[in-house]
């Protein structure tokens, strides 16, 4: 029983990070109709910058802000400098270019920083609180949950309550109509990429201290799991990403705890396959899905 409570609570924190990363995939999918396979590599590049800033200034918070800004800049640069030039008649060229970008970023980071894992110190303790003899949630996990909730709430407000959000949504759903209403659609696509990569960078920043450490491939598994989450939730649905993220986080925590760590990726793969075969548009597909 104690073990179950512990696994559930740490699964919740793991799920929050997953949901955040999946949300970043949903944002860029909605903005540009691409699945950004380079999301993990771009996020990790931003984390390296955060790491360097923290090392130089001694402040975790400066590093956090720097990492987010780097993510946003990187998103803008990749969209305006690269993705905009890729033919969009089919999704294939965009995916291949993203894969090329993964190779460049990961090998570039390996060349610049070496392959070793760098330890990132979390800003709060990772020792779980003790609630009547039952270990639940460490202060760091609590921090992760709070940050994830704040960011998701903020993004929801941005998209649903501001005129920028209205333009972002309109450009995503109906680019031509939006242009006819004077919306600068190309700019909205860039903004979508900036928001998306900054969110992904935040998720990676939250994840790295709980893993082996920072190296160029540290977010690969996060990306694959988050992709599974985004697909399970429906690529178009932020709420679906949140729910599926928490669900998959708890599932992989339970499988890790009760079976083995190496069975967790298989469990995620099995859920992904089942959902794709039963409901190809995801669980929260809104009506008939737009064609990719």
């Amino acid at each position: 029983m104690d073990r179950l409570v512990f696994l559930l609570s740490s699964g919740l924190a793991r799920g929050a990070v997953l949901a955040l990363f999946a949300l970043s995939l949903v944002i860029v999918w909605r903005a540009a109709r691409v699945v950004n396979f380079a999301q993990a590599a771009m996020a990790i590049a931003a984390v390296y910058v955060a790491f360097a800033i923290t090392a130089a200034s001694g402040s975790y918070w400066l590093g956090l802000i720097g990492g987010l800004a780097t993510g946003a800049l990187l998103g803008a640069a990749v969209e305006a400098g690269l993705m905009r030039r890729v033919p969009h008649t089919t999704p294939l060229p965009g995916m291949i270019v993203a894969i090329g970008l993964v190779m460049i970023l990961q090998s570039g980071l390996s060349i610049a920083f070496g392959p070793q894992h760098r330890t990132m110190r979390p800003p709060f303790s990772e020792r779980p609180f003790d609630l009547g003899g039952v270990p639940v949630l460490s202060p760091y996990e609590l921090f992760v949950l709070v940050v994830a909730a704040l960011v998701m709430g903020g993004l929801a407000l941005l998209f649903n309550r501001t005129s920028l959000g209205l333009q972002l949504r309109a450009s995503a759903f109906a680019p031509e109509t939006s242009r006819l209403l004077g919306v600068r659609v190309p700019r909205m696509v860039t903004v979508g990429w900036m928001l998306s990569v900054a969110t992904a960078a935040l998720a990676a920043l939250l994840l790295v201290p709980t893993e082996l450490g920072l190296n160029p491939f540290a977010a690969d598994l996060l990306f694959v799991n988050a992709f599974a989450v985004a697909v399970i939730g429906g690529l178009d649905s932020p709420a679906g990403a949140l729910a599926a993220g928490i669900g998959v986080g708890i599932l992989s925590s339970l499988v890790t705890g009760y079976v083995s760590a190496s069975a967790a990726p298989l469990a995620v793969l099995a859920v992904l396959t089942a959902v794709l075969l039963l409901r190809p548009g995801g669980l929260v597909a809104a009506g008939k899905a737009r064609s990719a």
Binding site: V34, I96, L277
Partner: protein, 351 residues
């Protein structure tokens, strides 16, 4: 028939070429042949049906495991007959990779673009876990029996050259059906599905069956490619078939020109030879930097190359030949316009 003759001729040429190479080069050639079989399967899949698989390394691994298991069993039953061991192994490779390809193909029939790519990616990432959970020998993998040079040839050639011959033969057997398939009715059906699924359905082509079939047709050569690597290295382990290797297969297909078998051959040689060449050069750079460049610099180059190819020259290496010929034939003549810009009034994505 002409295709088969041409394949036999090319294979004979390649076997002749092994006499000009030293053992290490022959080992590289055998590796390139294994990669070629997989890339050929991948390039036909992507080029003709537009489905991107990031998981062909896993199909290769499946073939490798199938080969290792079946050939080991055959070697225990009939230790004397190398031909039987090889045949059983190849049949095992084709069966296992074909079965996995069928499963993926069933998924592929229902999925489009990014979903399939993501599923195959998840498969690659899950391979080490699968090797641990399933009876596949964990990170160590499975051993495959050593195939010695036949007595009749043992005075003539070294074992690396013999393995290169085997590799070339298996690759020819794996790729030739693809060439036949591509130029036949099945190829036409695949192109129809790529062009417009609804229109294809209206002309009596079943997109789901076509896509599933294409995936199986692409998986079996990949599995045989895995068998080739198992023959040359006498083992199959999950570490060799990770994401990096899977992406290299994509690189080879893209650089060679999607859909082109000749391009696949060039691309395979490139992804085998270039990293080795770069690493040899990098070894000349002393100290820490050289160590960091080792293995990474080639990947960096490949990444840049596939972006450049995709943005600037989607035909890849295969399209370079005809293009050069056109150029040299008449510079004064109007340049052949590359595919006209999609000028239809908005690819109506709005509901």
């Amino acid at each position: 028939m002409r295709t088969v003759l041409r394949a036999a001729l090319l294979a004979a040429l390649a076997i002749g070429a092994t006499f000009a190479l030293d053992p290490f080069r022959n080992f590289q050639l055998a590796t390139a042949a294994g990669v070629f079989a997989a890339v050929a399967g991948l390039t036909v899949l992507v080029g003709l049906t537009g489905q991107l698989s990031l998981g062909h390394a896993v199909l290769m691994a499946a073939g490798g495991y199938g080969y290792a298991a079946a050939s080991t069993a055959a070697a225990e039953a009939a230790p004397e007959s190398a031909a039987l061991v090889l045949t059983a192994g190849l049949a095992g490779a084709a069966a296992v990779s074909g079965a996995l390809g069928l499963l993926l193909g069933l998924a592929a029939a229902r999925l489009r673009g990014p979903y399939l790519a993501g599923l195959t990616l998840a498969l690659v990432i899950a391979l080490p876990s699968a090797a641990n959970v399933l009876p596949l020998g964990g990170a160590q993998g499975l051993p495959a029996p050593f195939l010695p040079v036949p007595d009749a040839l043992s005075r003539l050639i070294a074992v690396e050259q013999w393995h290169a011959w085997l590799a070339i033969g298996v690759a020819a057997v794996a790729v030739t059906p693809l060439a036949v398939l591509r130029s036949g009715r099945a190829g036409l059906r695949m192109r129809a599905v790529l062009g417009d699924e609804t229109a294809a359905r209206l002309s009596g082509v079943d997109p789901a069956r076509t896509k599933t079939g294409a995936f199986v047709a692409s998986a079996v050569p990949a599995g045989l490619g895995g068998a080739i690597l198992a023959i040359t290295t006498q083992q199959v382990a999950p570490g060799g078939y990770g994401l990096a290797f899977s992406l290299l297969l994509v690189v080879a297909a893209v650089v060679g020109g999607l859909g082109s078998l000749g391009g696949a051959a060039l691309g395979s040689v490139l992804v085998v030879a270039l990293p080795w060449l770069v690493d040899t050069l990098v070894d000349a750079v002393p100290s820490d930097l050289g160590q960091r460049l080792d293995g990474n610099f080639a990947v960096l180059l490949f990444g840049a190359v596939i972006i450049a190819v995709t943005v600037a020259r989607p035909g890849g290496l295969a399209a370079l030949g005809p293009r050069l010929r056109i150029r040299s034939r008449g510079r004064a003549a109007a340049p052949v316009s590359p595919t006209p810009d999609n000028a239809t009034p908005s690819a109506n994505t709005e509901r």
